[in-house]
Structure formats: C-alpha cells, structure tokens
Symmetry: C2
Subunit: 378 residues, 2 copies
C-alpha cells in the first residue's frame, strides 16, 4: 500500500512570533504509516473558510504583509497589533497546521475492515491540518462521498453544511419557529436558504447590497432585507412580523447589526400590543458565529429585558446534539452534496499559491462571491 | 371596617404626552370596598427603587424639568428625547400609577378567612401602584411582617431581596458556583454580599470608588474590585481566578463593563491553559438587570465563543422558579427582615415631596448611598 505514499509531504503552517508577527510557510512533515483503524488521504481539495482565516492570519494586518522565501517555498510575514497579540500569548512559538476540512482519495489503509473498505475511495475529512498534501486520519473521521463525486465537491461538506443544519437544529432545540441570518448571500447563507425552503422554515435573509438581495430572491428567498438600504429597518420589522422569527445567526458580529435585529424583533412583537414597561416577554436571541466586522458589538438596549446575545460554535453544538444526530446530519449532506449542500469556488490555488500576497488580499476580505479552494496536489 | 377607609385617596401618576413630555401629578382615585379575598392596605412606606424610576420618569431629561401646580398638588413636567419617545409610543395618553412595592397596615378586609386574618396586621405588598395612600389588593399578595416590624422595614422586602435571592438561585439553576456583581455597594449589593457570606458563595464585588470598596470590605466582602482604579483588570482577573466565577449580574448595562467582565473571565479560565483557537469551552454569562449607564453596551469580543449576554428580570425568573420556591423565598425574607435583608433609607418624602424638583434630581441620579422612601400617609 505505502508505495504510492511519499515519506514526506508539504504542510502549510502558521506561526505567531514573540515579535508580534505571524509567519506563514510550507514545511516538510513525515507521513506516518497508518495504524489499523487509520487511513492516509491524498488531499485534493480544501476550502479556505472564514473559520480557517482566524487561525491562519491570527488577526494580523495583511495589508502590511511582506513576501519572502522562494517560489516553491514562499514565506509571508505580517504584523499583529498589540491588542490582537494579547489574546495570542499562548500561541507564540507554536508552528500550527491549518485547514479545518477537505477531501481526497484514500491511498493507504490500516488493517481494520473499516479502514480497508475506504481504500481508493474519495472521502471528505474534517480533521484539521488539511492544508497538507497527505493526511493520516482515523477511518471514522472520513465521510465516503457518493459514487462519482469529485473531491472538490466534497471538500466543504462539513463546516458549512453542518453549520447550516446546526442553525436549524438549534432553532428547534430552543423552541423558535423561524430564523434570521446575516451575510445571507454567502455560500453558507445560500445553503441555509435552500434548507429552509425544503423544510418550509420561514427565513429572513439580511444582505449588504442590492445585488446580493437579487441573488437570494432568484434562489427563491421570500424575505430579503438589504442593510445598505434606507428602508432597511422598516422592511426588517415587516419580515419579522410576517415570519415571527425570534432567533438570529449573525456572521457579522461587530457594529450595531445584532442590536438592530433585536430592536426589530421587539418592534415586530410589540406592534399593536399594550404598553409593557419592561418590553415584551418573548425571548429574542442573536447568536454571533462569525466576525466579518471585527469592531465591538454595540447594543442599544431598546428591546426590553427578554433578550440574549451570545457566541455560537459548531463543535459544542455537535457535542450537544450527540453522535447519532450528527451521523444522520452527515449522511443527509452526503446524499445532497451537489444540490442542497453544493458549494462553489471562484479560485483554485496550490499550497504555495495560497501564500501569494495578492491571493491573501482577496480571501481575507471574505467578500461574498469570492471563495478559494486549495488543491495541495495539483 | 370601612369606617377607617376614605372613599377617595391620593395616587401618584406618570403620563407621557403626545408632545414628548412626561407629566407627574397626584390624582384622586376611589378606594373600592374589598371583595371577599381582598384587603385594603393603608400604605405607610414605599421605596423609590431603580426599577420604579424607569416607569416614573419615562427616560425624560429631569435636568430640564419644570414645576407647576400647588404645594399639595404639584405637577412636574420634563421633556423626552425623540429617541426615548419611540419606545414609549404605546404609553402616550395613559396616566399610569407607579410604585412596585410598599408596606402598611390592613385597615379593611373582605369576608374570606385569609383576608380577615390580616386585619390590623402590618404587611408588605408587591402590587404595583404603591405610591398611593390606600391600595385594595388580594390577601394572597400580602406578606405579613414579623411581630413588631415597622412598615418602613418591610417596604422594600420584595424587589431587592427577591432579586438578590433570584441571582443566587439562577447561579444554581445554570450550574455556576460563584458570582460577580456590579454596582455592588448598592442596597441590593450589600444584601447579596450578606447572603453570599451566609451561604459561603464566592462573590466578586465590582464597585466604582475606593469608598464603596471600603464599605463592602468592612461588611466582610472577600473580593472587591474598584473599576475606577488603574489596576482594575488585573485585580478582577485575580478575583475571578480565585472564585471561579463565570456568571455576573450587571446593574450598569451601558459602556464596556459587561464586556470587560467576560474578558476577565476568559483570561482567568485560560491562564496557564494551552492555546485554543476558539477560546475556552467554559460558558461565561453576564445578565444585565439594570441600566445605571444608559449608553449602548459595547462588547469587544476577545473572550472566545462560549459566552452570553442577556437581560434578566425578576418577574420571569419567579415564574420559572415556581410558586412553591417563591413562597419559601418570601418567608426567608420575612424571617431576616432586619438583618440579611435590611434596607436603609436616607430620605423620607410624602407623595407631594416625591414631586419636588430637588428630590427628583437626587433620586434619579441613583447614586449609591442615597435611597428615598415615600410615606404617603405621613
């Protein structure tokens, strides 16, 4: 088996230094021989998700990044502000691999039946360190893609699909009946829109431009509110009244958007109701799951007392949901990989290509409509 | 029975007008004859709590208040900003009674045994509209004070004591083991400090001046952090490490204090731990239950993803806790009315006295150490 697997492989690394810089580079790492329950995956595709960018760039100022090294082994260095550095103290001096998820072909297997069964198969893996040419992972961490599916189609089959399904599950677990989503024209947002249409869950999509609004409407979204419009708050309250949404997932984080959603929910609930000195008794919740806007979150507390804002992260949600539920969710994703859970990429880069300054400048902007795929073996 | 009860009685009212002013006045209202399960209470003492001030002043600018009317029937008018007025639309034109709680003597009773049993007794009532000379309320809403207790001692036996006990109960229900409290030198804060000492619950008291810190230390508080000090954050993190507190109750609301508490909690939890890209997995919670600072809440999100900020209000907490628990809490308060749950007042005013501009200027500042008691029948 191991004839097709090189002894060493390239891996992308992120290092925060004591001099307050982040250094990105490619290093050679050994590919271990698989243990009985492990397989070695030749990584053919790994997306650059917003959740990867935090670990990769460590909050550095990429506009001041400088390039070094060689074309094959580029090294990028960027400064980190004093404020950002404080939260990174425990990272200093550790060369960390990056890449939450990816997909590729199983090229070597341990002796167990489960591992052997995957040999030659195209699998998706959410194993971390996926910005590598080869990864040795537990067979149980692999999701076999449907017959004929390409690695690129399965590369992003974990983070976004499980997050979108996790939002719907959270809605049910916490007794809400409709959803609000911000940055709704993102890959994740389009996916959530498709899920909600399938399941007939009312969804209020908040976007940041008329073009994004049009994109979602043409994908069948019933409620789209453009926060760049002068009439945004009025339209938001109208959509919140129509849907009864009292739960929002916010990828933006900073600024006043989370607070405005709570304000809108309270206005929608209170419309026509009697005056209540403490506001409505209906609990309104915003979960912040991203940080597209890194400014502080500003809450103008004009939405009564029955409200909450908090962090939301996929991993603890999956732990809360339990193994059985998670397995069912993954099978559902695999079965609809090219439809409901399809993800589109605008650019493909090699590991070295991901460390070019012009590429970094684009993918760190996290602009809707720009999504990079790393192809470590291309 | 009704021989001692006047047909009409004075009541303080707050009216928001369409011209964006709040108008405070005294009106005559009828005192109804009690139904079988009701009693009439001659209100002898009612505190001005922060929770009353919101309803009373409706967010008006009291520095621009003007006085009118007569000495016996003063009328105070103050302007409301456009922003504050929006949230008050449903109040316009409604003359609202004020006063969450108070105490007095039962001077008339309905025919039921429960009502008859209270006749002549000094009782505390959390019935609303307590800034009245007489109130007809259900006998079940009355808490009989211990033999010999004065009305002034029982006047504030509901809002602050139940809130302080509610914080401790919330801590237990949500699986925390220690508490943080802001504006900790307040009447409520001193009460919470006594409860936590009795129950050996670690409590981090956050105050705003050295004098307040001294006051709490002399009352036996082990952890006191002064937010006006340059060394505040370091001392806060130290206290959070020592106590393991992951739940805070914040009376301040505006500005960056809630966020700094979360930052401190995360720093305390992460100290010495391995780097975790998403922060610690320990849930950190701040409940905002007051609004001493009316500015927006500003959260600098450097405390990972396991966090929440939300509103907390006594009434929904009591509903969640259930009738049996609430009855036990009230009995506990009655039994320790002059010790653990003692409340001290610095000023006593009549209903007309509560509408003097100089008094309003003082009690709306909600300064620690200044607490007004209204004595409607003095």
């Amino acid at each position: 088996m191991s004839g097709r697997v090189p002894a060493q492989t390239l891996q992308l690394r992120s290092l925060v230094t004591a001099s307050r810089t982040v250094e990105l580079s490619l290093v050679d790492v050994d590919v271990p021989a698989p243990e009985p329950r492990q397989v070695v995956v030749r990584v053919e595709a790994a997306p650059i998700n917003p959740s990867d960018i935090g670990l990769l760039l460590a909050g550095a100022d990429v506009s001041q990044a400088t390039a070094g090294g060689t074309p094959d082994r580029p090294v990028v260095t960027a400064p980190i502000s004093a404020a950002a550095a404080r939260a990174l103290a425990a990272r200093v001096g550790q060369s960390l691999p990056v890449g939450n998820e990816g997909a590729g072909t199983v090229v070597a297997s341990g002796a167990s039946d489960a591992a052997q069964a995957l040999l030659g198969k195209v699998v998706a893996v959410a194993g971390g360190a996926m910005y590598s040419q080869y990864r040795c992972v537990p067979a149980s961490a692999c999701l076999e893609l449907p017959e004929g599916a390409r690695a690129a189609e399965g590369a992003a089959s974990f983070v976004n699909p499980m997050t979108a399904l996790g939002m719907v599950e959270t809605m049910r677990m916490e007794k809400h009946t409709a959803l609000v989503h911000t940055a709704a024209a993102s890959n994740l947002g389009q996916m959530l829109n498709r899920i909600c249409i399938e399941e007939q869950i009312p969804l209020v999509n908040i976007v940041r431009s008329p073009a994004q609004a049009e994109l979602l409407r043409s994908a069948g979204a019933a409620y789209v509110c453009d926060s760049s419009s002068d009439t945004f708050m009025g339209e938001l309250v109208e959509a919140l009244q129509a849907t009864g949404a009292t739960l929002a997932f916010d990828a933006v984080g900073g600024g006043d958007l989370a607070g405005r959603i709570l304000t809108g929910m309270e206005a929608a609930i209170s419309a026509g109701a009697e005056y209540s000195r403490y506001g409505s008794s209906v609990h309104k919740q915003v979960y912040i799951y991203g940080s597209l806007d890194r400014r502080p979150t500003e809450l103008i507390r004009n939405f009564g007392t029955a409200w909450g804002v908090g962090g939301w992260l996929l991993t603890p949600f999956l732990q809360r949901a339990g193994a059985e539920k998670v397995a069912a969710m993954r099978q559902r994703v695999a079965a609809a990989l090219t439809t409901t859970f399809a993800c589109s990429f605008t650019d493909e880069v090699t590991l070295a290509g991901a460390l070019q300054l012009d590429a970094i400048a684009v993918y760190t902007r996290q602009a809707t409509g720009k999504k990079y795929l790393i192809t470590p073996n291309a």
